[in-house]
């Protein structure tokens, strides 16, 4: 095949960086645990945000991988191991979410108001008719859904990976067609359960509020963060002398995905906001009322960063082919998408008091500091898991039927 470097090894320096970041994350978690003034509510919220954000990146990778098979895409054939490596994080992401949910169920925190059993009791002063009416949805059925997510995502990911490695050993069209069928099946599964996981894990924080666009908005965020991470990883690997046959056209196409899905996210974010803002119905508007009252600057800042930066910087063809542009824009909007998940969670859990009452500049800085420290800790863990999986198999699937077409990709 002529690939000089098929086996990836984690450079010692990168390994040190990953462990350094993880150490910073643990330190930040300890600092956060001590400094937190919300009885642990905000600390758990940050854990949920970090867990969900990186689970979302890996779920985006699983979705994109299945999409490539279902749509018979050829140009991504030689970079598909990158997506396999990214979705190998799914079990860890799910485990973090599970810890947060179980802690909520045992009343360690009160992120999920509906986990309080007294809201279902008609004789209790806490009785809440709107939640009590959804008792079936939030009862045992909730944990059934969680079990379906865990089982489904893990099993699909394992099958894709297993067949992909088998293909390296013995080329067979049958294996490819199996992947194709399973990819199509996964898209159907994901259409349903990417929606409900967004409801269950994030939207149910604002229990009284609901929006049919919410799951699409969360899903587009998953997809765009996945494309950013994959693009940056591919560029990094190319810089290290791997992927010699990944050419300008592949980079250009990854840039297009980054640009296009940023626009999808912006469209969905704005449509959800605009329709609710315009109709101004009390039961709908609560979500944005909390954000308007306490987070006006951050809310619009996150939206404009995630919309305007990729739009104006990446719109030109030359920009999408320029590695420096992709790296910088990608790094910025990766962080601002993390802030987007922060905006989806914290206003619902802490209502503007996440740093305590009337925090000064120093205190806000401290709390933002350990919040980002935990994000960096998870980032280090994520990068390490991805690179470790990448080092366990050939970097390019040598027997993929579309490999030749992918190597000759030209746009």
């Amino acid at each position: 095949m002529g690939h000089d470097k098929l086996h990836f090894e984690i450079p010692a320096k990168t390994r040190k960086w990953c462990f350094g970041l993880m150490g910073l994350g643990v330190l930040s978690a300890i600092v956060g645990g001590v400094a937190d003034e919300t009885h642990g509510q905000y600390w758990w919220a940050v854990l949920l945000i970090c867990g969900f954000f990186f689970l979302a990146v890996s779920l985006g990778a699983l979705f994109f991988y299945a999409l490539q098979y279902a749509a018979e895409v050829a140009w991504t054939a030689q970079i598909k191991r990158v997506f396999e490596a990214m979705f190998s994080f799914i079990p860890i992401g799910l485990a973090v979410i599970l810890v947060v949910l179980l802690a909520g169920q045992f009343h360690v925190h009160h992120i999920y108001h509906w986990m309080d059993s007294s809201v279902y009791d008609i004789n209790s002063p806490n009785y809440d008719k709107l939640i009590a009416d959804k008792a079936v949805f939030f009862g045992a059925f909730f944990w059934v859904r969680i079990a379906i997510y865990v089982a489904g995502f893990v099993l699909f990911a394992r099958a894709f990976r297993k067949w992909s490695l088998q293909e390296d050993e013995s080329p067979s069209t049958e294996l490819h067609l199996k992947q194709y069928r399973r990819g199509a099946l996964f898209l159907v599964y994901f259409a349903v359960f990417s929606t409900t996981i967004a409801w269950d894990v994030l939207m149910s924080i604002d229990t009284h509020w609901f929006s049919t666009m919410y799951s699409w908005y969360i899903f587009s965020g998953m997809w765009v963060t996945c494309m950013i991470f994959a693009t940056l990883l591919i560029i990094w690997l190319k810089g290290k002398g791997y992927f010699t046959k990944v050419n300008d056209s592949h980079v250009h196409d990854m840039g297009k995905w980054m640009f296009a899905i940023s626009m999808l996210w912006s469209y969905l974010w704005f449509c959800q906001f605009m329709l609710i803002w315009y109709s101004d119905i009390p039961e709908e508007v609560t979500y944005f009322k909390t954000r308007y009252d306490n987070y006006m600057g951050l809310m619009w800042g996150v939206f404009f960063a995630n919309f305007a930066i990729p739009f104006y910087v990446l719109i030109a063809r030359d920009a999408k082919r320029n590695i420096k542009f992709l790296q910088r824009v990608g790094a910025i909007i990766f962080v601002t998408h993390f802030l987007d998940i922060w905006m989806a969670v914290v206003p619902g859990t802490n209502h503007g008091h996440e740093f305590g009452h009337h925090p000064g500049f120093g205190k806000s800085l401290l709390h933002w500091g350990w919040t980002f420290g935990m994000f960096l800790g998870f980032l280090g863990l994520f990068i390490f898991i991805v690179l470790r999986t990448l080092s366990k198999a050939k970097l390019v699937p040598v027997n993929h039927p579309y490999l030749n077409e992918s190597e000759n990709h030209h746009i």
Partner: protein
């Protein structure tokens, strides 16, 4: 010396592509290619510059956005304050989210129409304009390459010999 124009016809886009590569590598300048469809990767071979149509489109779309802002401000705020569902209607900026769909649609409208009209004008292919292709078969299944002696420092016979060396389907030579 009179200018001689060679209309070199090929019956396959790949043959034309190979011929163009062979001729260009001998320093011959290909003036124009007529083809029923775009030939992938031909532009850099015959030295066609990258189109600036995308830049035009961006400018048309910006014009559209500006016009939509001006329009919504004048119709909805300045000329008569429309009160729709109690929305703030005394400043443009407070009501801006409601105007975003208009701004979006008008940007797309101006960008797309401006681009299409520019394209048709630039290529001389507006409806009713005379066709500029030398042979009607280039709208069917034939591909024509136009080479002139004026563009090339070669005698007509040398040029013809080099052209004949490629996989030609038909060659028409005209004097101008």
């Amino acid at each position: 010396m009179a200018n001689k124009v060679f209309h070199v016809m090929y019956d396959d886009d790949q043959k034309l592509m190979d011929a163009a590569k062979a001729l260009v590598s001998q320093g011959i300048r290909v003036k124009e290619v007529f083809s029923p469809f775009p030939i992938h990767g031909l532009d850099p071979v015959i030295g066609v510059k990258r189109t600036r149509l995308a830049i035009c489109s961006f400018m048309y779309a910006c014009t559209g956005t500006a016009l939509a802002i001006l329009g919504t401000w004048y119709f909805m705020v300045s000329d008569w304050n429309w009160n729709i569902g109690g929305k703030p209607n005394f400043t443009w900026i407070e009501n801006a989210p409601a105007f975003v769909p208009v701004m979006f649609e008008f940007s797309v409208f101006c960008g797309a129409h401006g681009m299409a009209i520019t394209y048709l004008l630039r290529n001389g292919t507006l409806p009713g304009m005379p066709a500029s292709n030398p042979d009607p078969r280039t709208t069917d299944d034939k591909f024509v390459m136009e080479i002139t002696t004026d563009d090339n420092n070669l005698s007509a016979s040398d040029l013809e010999a080099k052209i004949r060396a490629t996989d030609v389907y038909e060659l028409n030579i005209k004097d101008y």
